[in-house]
């Protein structure tokens, strides 16, 4: 446990000693503010809820989160510090979890810094704060899922751009799995249980269900499964590179 925290601390310091964390946080806040107030017209809607705010998170995360995570393992491979890291008295699993938690923390900081929106909505009306809290949990879990996928792709290659693009593609597939164009393409030749399972893979279904204000164990399990599977695959890839 201490090892995980040590690695996480080192990584967080690494993030903040370069422009990465600051640029990510500032751009995320700017874009989410722009989309919430200008595009989705939070004020004009006259409703005290944060639906226009959370609706953009899947799409903001789609591009910004892989940008945070893409250097997780690609950097180590590029600089050649991977071997150095793995010969330290820590297990690869501790390194994977530590790095993942550090990146997740950076995204969490960006999320927390959106608190002015919550204050705004509370000042102007009487929103359901339980629903808002659930919204933040859902958003954090979704960011974690995207990050884990990025960890996996960054372990595959030493090129950060490739890692970014592949990660965006995978996350996009997870989002679109529940959308009509994808399901229509499947419906023509796939049995109904397959179509239903593919749409159960979709991030949007589970994210929207948490947005309603109910923390359903199925949705939380879904996000934890994506994180768990991606981190496990990351470990497999790293071990394969070590052996080869």
């Amino acid at each position: 446990m201490n090892n995980i925290l040590t690695i996480a601390k080192r990584e967080v310091r690494g993030y903040f000693s370069s422009p990465v964390a600051f640029v990510f946080i500032v751009i995320f806040l700017l874009l989410s503010g722009f989309f919430t107030f200008m595009v989705a017209s939070l004020f004009e809607r006259g409703e005290a809820n944060l639906i226009p705010f959370f609706a953009w998170h899947p799409w903001l995360y789609l591009f910004l989160v892989p940008a945070v995570g893409m250097r997780m393992w690609s950097e180590e491979r590029r600089l050649g510090t991977m071997e150095l890291l793995l010969t330290m008295p820590i297990t690869p699993w501790q390194a994977i979890v530590g790095k993942f938690l550090a990146s997740w923390l950076v995204v969490a900081i960006a999320l927390v810094l959106t608190f002015p929106v919550v204050i705004t909505v509370n000042y102007l009306g009487h929103p359901d704060n339980g629903v808002i809290f659930a919204g933040y949990i859902g958003s954090l879990l979704m960011a974690g899922a995207y990050l884990a996928i990025t960890a996996m792709t960054s372990a595959m290659t030493r090129n950060q751009v490739v890692s970014f693009i592949v990660s965006v593609m995978l996350a996009l597939f997870l989002i679109l799995a529940g959308f009509p164009p994808v399901t229509n393409m499947l419906v023509s030749w796939a049995p109904p249980w397959l179509v239903e399972s593919v749409s159960a893979f979709s991030v949007m279904t589970h994210f929207e269900s948490i947005q309603k204000g109910v923390l359903d164990s199925r949705d939380i399990l879904y996000f934890l499964s994506v994180i768990g599977f991606s981190l496990f695959t990351t470990g497999v890839i790293i071990r394969a590179h070590r052996a080869g």
Partner: protein, 186 residues
């Protein structure tokens, strides 16, 4: 040496596939035993005390026939997700009633027994396109009393629990109480 490298990577791919299958299986199994934490202020997604009282007073089984069209391409996505939520709520009713509420889910495809049953119960389909009727209704019966909700609209989602509980309490009360009025006029 090279063979060992091949072996290791093969094992890893198989390992990854195995973990994938296990995780999917865990998700499917966990879908049966779901727990929910309702964070909304008005507790919109948990059964209210009134509903629990009504269910506690039941002594005879109540059958709920839930008609939902499953035709994946024709049913619009909002209705599909709403169908899932209605099913979840019905599941909560069954749990709270300790088995006295029996749920039967039927898909009224054209020319099926389920469709005839739907017509008999008074469930009205909505026509999404010219030829595709979508059913989303339920009928509640106890002994010989029957109540039905012809179509469940997503707009009435907040009142769904009220509609359901009212229907159940109507079929459960065999005798309607008599209200008398005394008036000074002849």
């Amino acid at each position: 040496m090279k063979k060992k490298g091949l072996e290791t990577s093969l094992y890893s791919v198989v390992g990854v596939a195995a973990v994938f299958v296990i995780i999917v299986a865990v998700n499917l199994i966990a879908a049966r035993a779901k727990t929910r934490i309702d964070l909304t202020a008005e507790r919109a997604y948990t059964l209210s005390q009134g509903t629990r009282n009504i269910l506690a007073k039941l002594d005879t089984p109540v059958q709920i026939r839930f008609y939902a069209s499953q035709n994946d391409n024709k049913v619009p996505v909002p209705l599909k997700t709403y169908t899932q939520r209605v099913e979840d709520l019905l599941g909560e009713y069954r749990q709270a009633s300790k088995g006295l509420v029996e749920i039967q889910k039927l898909d009224p495809t054209p020319d099926s027994d389920a469709e005839d049953s739907a017509k008999l119960d008074g469930i009205e389909p909505q026509m999404i396109s010219e030829t595709d009727p979508i059913y989303l209704g339920l009928s509640i019966t106890m002994l010989d009393q029957k109540e039905s909700i012809p179509f469940l609209t997503p707009e009435r989602e907040r009142l769904l629990e009220f509609d359901l509980s009212r229907a159940i309490s109507r079929v459960a009360t065999a005798e309607k109480p008599v209200v008398g009025i005394m008036s000074p006029l002849q």
